[in-house]
């Protein structure tokens, strides 16, 4: 399963719920305001850094860049993809679940 998360973990419970309910081995792609979850600094970082063994994490590059996070320190192990990479993930994984 490909899970997409588009909300900031500092504003809503969306990322937390995804991490609680996604099956291990899933891909989790942060898009839109969800990319704030990729920041290494700050209070939300451990939500993801503590689950690196359970999921493969991705963040959408164009959304990071728009928000001024291209040069920001991101959590180790998060892979950056573009829209083409998003399409590849959607095609590789058997279904997509959007966490809104």
């Amino acid at each position: 399963m490909l899970h997409t998360v588009n909300k900031s973990p500092l504003e809503r419970n969306t990322l937390e719920s995804c991490l609680r309910l996604a099956a291990k081995g899933s891909a989790i792609l942060l898009i839109e305001d969800g990319v704030y979850g990729a920041l290494a600094g700050g209070q939300a970082a451990e939500k993801i850094s503590g689950r690196m063994g359970d999921f493969t994490f991705y963040a959408l590059g164009p959304d990071l860049a728009a928000r001024g996070l291209s040069e920001a320190p991101l959590i180790d192990g998060i892979k950056i993809v573009d829209y083409g990479g998003f399409v590849d993930l959607a095609a590789e994984r058997e279904a997509q679940q959007a966490w809104l």
Binding site: T4, N6, I31, E32, D33, P62, D82, Y83, G84, F86, V87, D88, A90, A91, A95, Q96, Q97, A98, L100
Partner: protein, 119 residues
């Protein structure tokens, strides 16, 4: 691969329609098919041809219409959601059609993947 896409939000207020458009464009560039885009909830506002953003801003309604024309993408606006929100044939942009919610379920059955964008 045959993609269906669901867009739950209108243009401008939420990024959902932008993300869906960028996804659709990237999928087509990779040689995939985008069989249908279904617009539900406030997503029906993507079909409003009266939309007139500032000159230096993107015009999502027009971008969707162009995508439909170039790549034969079926743009379906949910009739029930559209009636509530005042989107009717009078204001419908080129390439969009108004139809029932069953077309969303059909997109899920026929497509290899349904990808959802919303708020």
């Amino acid at each position: 691969m045959k993609f269906g896409i669901l867009v739950n939000e209108g243009p401008f207020t939420h990024q959902a329609s932008d993300s869906a458009y960028q996804f659709a464009k990237a999928a087509l560039e990779k040689g995939h098919e985008v069989w249908r885009v279904f617009f539900y909830h406030d997503g029906v506002n993507n079909g409003n041809k009266l939309s007139e953003p500032q000159a230096d801003d993107r015009n999502l309604v027009k971008l969707w219409s162009e995508l439909a024309a170039e790549h034969n993408v079926d743009l379906v606006v949910c009739v029930a959601a559209a009636l509530r929100r005042g989107i009717k044939d009078d204001v419908l942009a080129p390439g969009f059609r108004i139809s029932g919610l069953g077309q969303l379920i059909e997109a899920g059955i026929v497509g290899d993947r349904l990808v959802v964008f919303g708020d």
